[in-house]
Every structure is written in structure tokens, then in C-alpha cells.
Symmetry: C2
Subunit: 407 residues, 2 copies
């Protein structure tokens, strides 16, 4: 499964959302000539919401978007891969601004109506002139079915493009569409990742409602995955809602909003799982669930420490049901528990009972050989609190990819 | 340098400390027949101090020692490798107790005079009978020069045994000797490691003074190294002081204590650096120094995040002076700084100035090819606070060693 195109996202399937166009082309930012410049454009002003990296080192496009998104509406976003435009100082900000300003003028938009996102190598000035001179070709490629091109163009070390789409009827007879695309394969960590994700919907929502729905969904999906515990300078999730499905805005507390919000949850989860399955060098997809914690914070401390452990991740790569490393990770997690109460399950097989070997190593060894493994840890410390995270294993290929990234 | 025997610890050099004996033999705990059982014994009761893992999952020998060390004196410690006796419940405690009790009787010691330490695989019952039946052979091998055998016997994945020795005159004409040995190569993380270290000295100290000196030294050495961010269930550092150098106890604040304390600092640092150089799969030894931090806590947050980063460590393995990953790690460290003020140095070469490329990549690429690299990060946020950590790179061999540890 890992690093293969998921079945739910077959090549050739054509997605579209009323009133949106997308495009992706090669602008020569990547050395290998692959697509590296994308545009998502709404025909009419859309409400917009965004979530950005919590890192203290923020790329120029992030700094720019944080300002621009305050207006609450936008017409779309220009995205490049191959260069993060991070740690590039004032020049980086000027470059980002010059590109969107040029695009706004060429498209007849108002100043401030476009956002920008970048991903790739840090600390190298953006080839702004190359990008600017490629914009006319990018505009010519804009089409309602341009999403797969756009999803291609935002890839860095991603093995496959990531798109998810869903339609749903909401009360009142309207049907809403939601499309999401994402990139990310390394520098993936809880509290976002080197990941970009963009959503477009024709559902009608105010900027405040849209933000509420986005923050809730991101918290349960993109903020719950980890490949390598490294948080990026460029993490960005944007959602555009142009309201073309018609009717009055969907409000929190109402059933239409609930339908939309659930749809966004689902697509965020699907995209975030695609990112983990495409984790650099990943051979296994691992769900880590901690339950029976005293508090949600304890569950989170425990789950994050397990999912971050080099030793747990290499054991998964070697298909070694080495639960001792999970106990060791738990021990230093800071979570409140007693070691002689812990139970651990590999795909439903109890391998640890009350902190000790439950004698099920053979069954566990079979379970861990699967491409997707569910690891459940019961702290038996409380009833209410549980938390799920998703991670990948740590393989030779992770080291290969990351020890030669720039060369 | 890495995974080779350091020059300061040549094979064949014979160490000894008045009134101490040591031994190391094979008891069949390890499958390959290598040495796996060690004993350190003081001819007379020695004052003792210890520092143990902060993990909430503590191995049986750790739990036993925490109780036993309260008496303040001890005759020595029985150590086995190949099995951690962790996550083994009441049986584990009984096994540990049975072994030291048997040894105490055989050696004519009082109940409670021996300590115990274990390292190896977690969650497998200790082969207590095998160990007990090997004790007579262990006792027969006891000799003043037995330290290299003992250091051999406490190895797990260590590529070389780790011993350090020093002698020094203290005011009043006495000469004190201090010998230290350690093991550790993986599950090595700030706040100790899967590491064991044992010190023996003939200096006279009370248990309280000894504890004070030990805690201070450990904080600056063993607690400042990381290979893989995983904290072990078995971390133990013990020091025995038999006072045979003569004279009254060395007291904090006095010059004799200062000499002893400095000696202990030096040996702790040497042993902890040996552990990093022997880091599983390590090809480079990296000193991470953060200075100009607003507070010591900020310096520590920043240094620990950099030293823990998969991406920084794989870049070092690939000899890629990819400072963007260091900036990204800094950004999510939680330390207080401004990205446009940060300077970064590789072996004295300024590669980042005010958060941006300083145009010295070629020189940096040469510097990073060395086996030992000094990485310095100046946050320019304050004057007083700095902190050093030591870590290794992340290589294919780390993955190989840890994905096949038990098979």
C-alpha cells in the first residue's frame, strides 16, 4: 500500500467543483523538468480560511498569506514546488509578493486577492523570474478538470499525487462538492508537516464558519500524523468556498454545516493518511491508538512518543513485534500510568498484559507483517480518554532519500 | 573515529583502584557465547551513590537498587548484559533479588550490600538459574585488573568496551584514583540512555557528597548525549568510593572535593563521548552548541531539538551542509528567538547569517565531511546562556542494527 497510488484515487478519474479551475505546469524550478507550478482559481470571490505552521521559522509565503487571509475572501492560490522560499529574508517576501501581484494583474484581480504557497528546499532564493515568465502558460492551462495537474505540480519527494473528492446533499435540496489535494512525504510531524493541502468547495459559508470547520478537521487529521517528527517552515492548509451550491451560509449548529463539516473531516483524514502512506521510505502504515488514559493530554503524550520513536519505527520496518520498545517509549513520554497495568495489542492480539509478555509473540509477528498495522495501547488509567495518530516505519530508504536530498 | 576504539583507551592498558576487584565472564545469556556477566567488588564497605532512569517504566534491577542504595554503603554490583529484566513484573524483582542474595552469601557479605544492573532485551524473563550457576566462576575471575573483562561483559550492541581512568594528587599529599566504565550504543537520549556506567574510586567521601558530585557530573555528560532520543528502562550510573586513599572525607567547598569533582566530570564526559562515537551506525560525532539564548532553557530546547532531528541527522550522514533543516528544527523547538537573527557555524565557518544563506556552502561541505563536526548556533537573543549536546548521525546501519535486533 505504502508509496503506491491508493485505490480510492484512481488515475484518470476527473474531479471538478462548480466555479473553480486549476492548472499545473513545469516552470523549470525542479531540475528534472517535472511539473512544479500550480494555480487554483475561483471564478468569483470565495470565502477563505487557512491554518499555518506553528514553527517560529516561517517561510515568506506563510508570512504573506497570514496577512492576506485576514480579508476573509480570496480568488485562489499560486503554488510552487522545488523551492520553499524559506530563510530568504526580505528578498523572499518581495519575490512572493511580486509573483502574486503579477498574477493578479494578468488575471484582472484586485490586489490582495491571491494567496501563495511554496515547498521544497530551504534557504535558496526563489527563482522568481522563472516563475513569473511561466505564469501566462499556467493561466492557459486553467480548466475545471485541472486538479490532477495541480496535484502533480505541488509534489516534492511525494511518490504519488494526493486528491480526494466527495459530494453530498444537504438539507434544503442542495448538493455540495468538496475537493482536496495535498502534498507531503517528509518533514511530517504532528502539528502539521512539510505539507500543503488545498480544499475547494461550492458550499456557502462565512469566513468564520469556514475557519471553524477547517481548524476542527485539521486537528483530527493533519495534526495527527508523523513521519519524522520534523515540523516544516511552510505548512499551509487553505480552503476556498465560493457558495455556488446556492442558498444561505451554512451555520455551526445547523444540519447543513454538520454535513459539510463531516465531509471536510473525511477528506482531511483521507489526505493525511495518503501522506503517511507516502512517507519517505515507508513500508508500513501504523495506527497508534492510546486509550484508557487519565486525560486526553496523557493519551496524546503517550501516542506521540510512541509514534516518534526511532526504535519503534525501525522495529516495525523489521517486522519485529518488539513491544519492549513501546513500553520504553511510554516510560519516557511523561504520560500518567503504571507500568504494571499496561496492555498492548497488535491488530487485536494482546501481546502485553499488565506490562508483561502475554505469550502471543508468534501471532503478533504475523500481524506486524501486514502493510497496515493497528497498534493499541490500553493504559487502564481512566475510561474516557483516547487518541489516535498515524505514522510510518523507518527504513533504509528514509535514510537514502534524506541523506541525498539536495545532491 | 566512530565505532573504533578511541586512542585514549588502548587495549592492554591495565587499570586498577586500591581495594577494588572486577571480573567479566560468559554465562550463556547472550546466544553468541560472548561475555555477559560482570562483577565489581570493593574489599571493604564503600560509600555509594547512584542516578537512575527517569522513565516511568523501570526495570527490576533499577527498582531494587533505588531501595538498596538508601543505606549509603555497598560492596559492589552484579551486572548482566543480554537481558534487561524489564517489564518482567514480580518475577523480575524476585530473580534480581535471588541473584544478589546468592552472591552476597557466597561472598560472605551482609544482605543488601550488593547492587544489580541489567541491560539487553526487554520483556523476556531473566535466565536467573543460568546466572546463579555462573556466579562461582565469576568470583574466581575477580582480580584488581579485571576491569577490561567487566567492561567487555556489559556490552550489548557496543562496538568497543568503554573505560576511562585518571589519578590526581589532592591537597594533603594524598593521590586519588578514579576508574569509570560504561556501555551504551542505542536507546541513547538526553536524560540518560540505555546506558550503564560504573565508577570506582579510593577517594574518601560521604554518601551525600558523592551523590552531589555524581549528579553534577551526569547532568553535564550522560544527560547531554543523544543517539536516538529513546530513553531506556534500565539507565543506571553508580559510583563506589572506598576511602582507601586515606584522610578525612572530601567536602563540597574544599579544594580536595573540587579536584575529585573535576576528575569525575572529565571521566563522565570521556565515557559519554565514547558512547556517542559508538552510537549504533554512527559515522560522525556531532557537537551541537547553542549560545546567545535568552535563557538556559531556551538553549536546551533548541539544542535538543536539533540533535533529535531525523532530517538533521540524515543530512550529516550524507555530508550535506543542509542548514535549512537546522533552521526548521529550531523553528519548532519552542525556544525564544527571531529567525532573522540566527547565525549558524559549521566548524567555525559561518553558513547562516541573520537566518539566511551566508554563501559559504563549499567551505561548509568540506567541514561536514570530517568525522567530528562542531555545529554552533548563535540565537543572538541574550549573552549568558549556552548549552552543548553531543550526538551522532543517522545512517543505514542504524536502521539495519535496529530492524534486526532480536532476530
Amino acid at each position: 500500500m505504502a508509496r503506491e497510488k491508493p485505490k480510492k484515487n484512481p488515475a484518470g478519474q476527473i474531479f471538478s467543483v462548480r466555479g473553480f479551475k486549476a492548472a499545473g505546469i513545469g516552470a523549470g524550478i525542479k531540475r528534472n523538468g517535472a511539473k512544479d507550478l500550480a494555480l487554483i482559481l475561483s471564478d468569483s470571490p470565495a470565502t477563505v480560511a487557512g491554518v499555518f505552521t506553528k514553527s517560529a521559522v516561517r517561510a515568506a509565503p506563510v508570512l504573506l498569506d497570514i496577512e492576506r487571509i485576514k480579508r476573509g475572501t480570496s480568488r485562489g492560490v499560486v503554488v510552487n514546488s522545488g523551492n520553499a522560499n524559506a530563510c530568504t529574508g526580505r528578498r523572499g517576501l518581495k519575490d512572493a509578493e511580486a509573483i502574486v501581484t503579477f498574477a493578479e494583474k494578468a488575471l484582472g484581480l484586485k490586489n490582495g486577492e491571491l494567496l501563495v504557497a511554496s515547498t521544497g528546499v530551504i534557504g535558496v532564493p526563489l527563482p522568481a523570474e522563472k516563475i513569473r515568465s511561466s505564469l501566462p502558460a499556467l493561466f492557459q492551462n486553467l480548466k475545471p478538470s485541472g486538479w490532477t495537474d495541480a496535484a502533480e505540480a505541488i509534489r516534492t519527494t511525494d511518490a504519488f499525487p494526493k486528491i480526494a473528492f466527495a459530494k453530498k446533499r444537504i438539507p434544503g435540496g442542495r448538493t455540495i462538492s468538496l475537493l482536496g489535494m495535498a502534498k507531503g512525504a517528509g518533514m511530517i510531524c504532528p502539528s502539521m508537516a512539510t505539507m500543503l493541502a488545498f480544499f475547494a468547495t461550492d458550499a456557502p459559508l462565512t469566513a468564520a464558519s469556514l475557519k471553524k470547520a477547517l481548524v476542527t478537521s485539521v486537528e483530527k487529521s493533519f495534526n495527527r500524523i508523523t513521519v519524522d517528527n520534523d515540523t516544516s517552515t511552510n505548512d499551509t492548509v487553505l480552503i476556498f468556498a465560493n457558495g455556488l451550491a446556492g442558498g444561505s451560509p451554512l451555520k455551526p449548529g445547523e444540519s447543513g454545516y454538520a454535513v459539510f463539516s463531516k465531509l471536510l473531516d473525511e477528506l482531511s483524514l483521507r489526505l493525511s493518511h495518503m501522506i503517511v502512506k507516502d512517507g519517505e521510505g515507508a513500508t508500513r502504515f501504523i495506527e497508534v491508538e492510546v486509550f484508557g488514559a487519565k486525560s486526553r493530554k496523557d493519551a496524546e503524550l503517550a501516542a506521540r512518543k510512541i509514534a516518534a520513536s526511532f526504535l519503534v519505527k525501525t522495529a516495525f520496518f523489521g517486522a519485529d513485534p518488539n513491544w519492549g520498545r513501546i513500553m520504553a517509549a511510554l516510560g519516557s513520554s511523561g504520560a500518567d500510568f503504571r507500568q504494571d497495568r499496561v496492555d498492548i495489542y497488535f491488530d487485536g492480539i494482546k501481546v502485553v498484559k499488565d506490562g508483561m509478555d502475554a505469550g502471543k509473540e508468534k501471532q503478533a509477528a504475523r500481524a506486524i507483517k501486514k502493510k497496515e498495522v493497528r497498534l493499541r495501547v490500553d493504559l487502564k488509567r481512566g475510561k474516557s480518554s483516547s487518541l489516535k495518530l498515524w505514522t510510518s516505519d523507518l527504513s533504509y530508504d528514509y535514510v537514502r532519500i534524506n541523506s541525498s536530498y539536495r545532491s
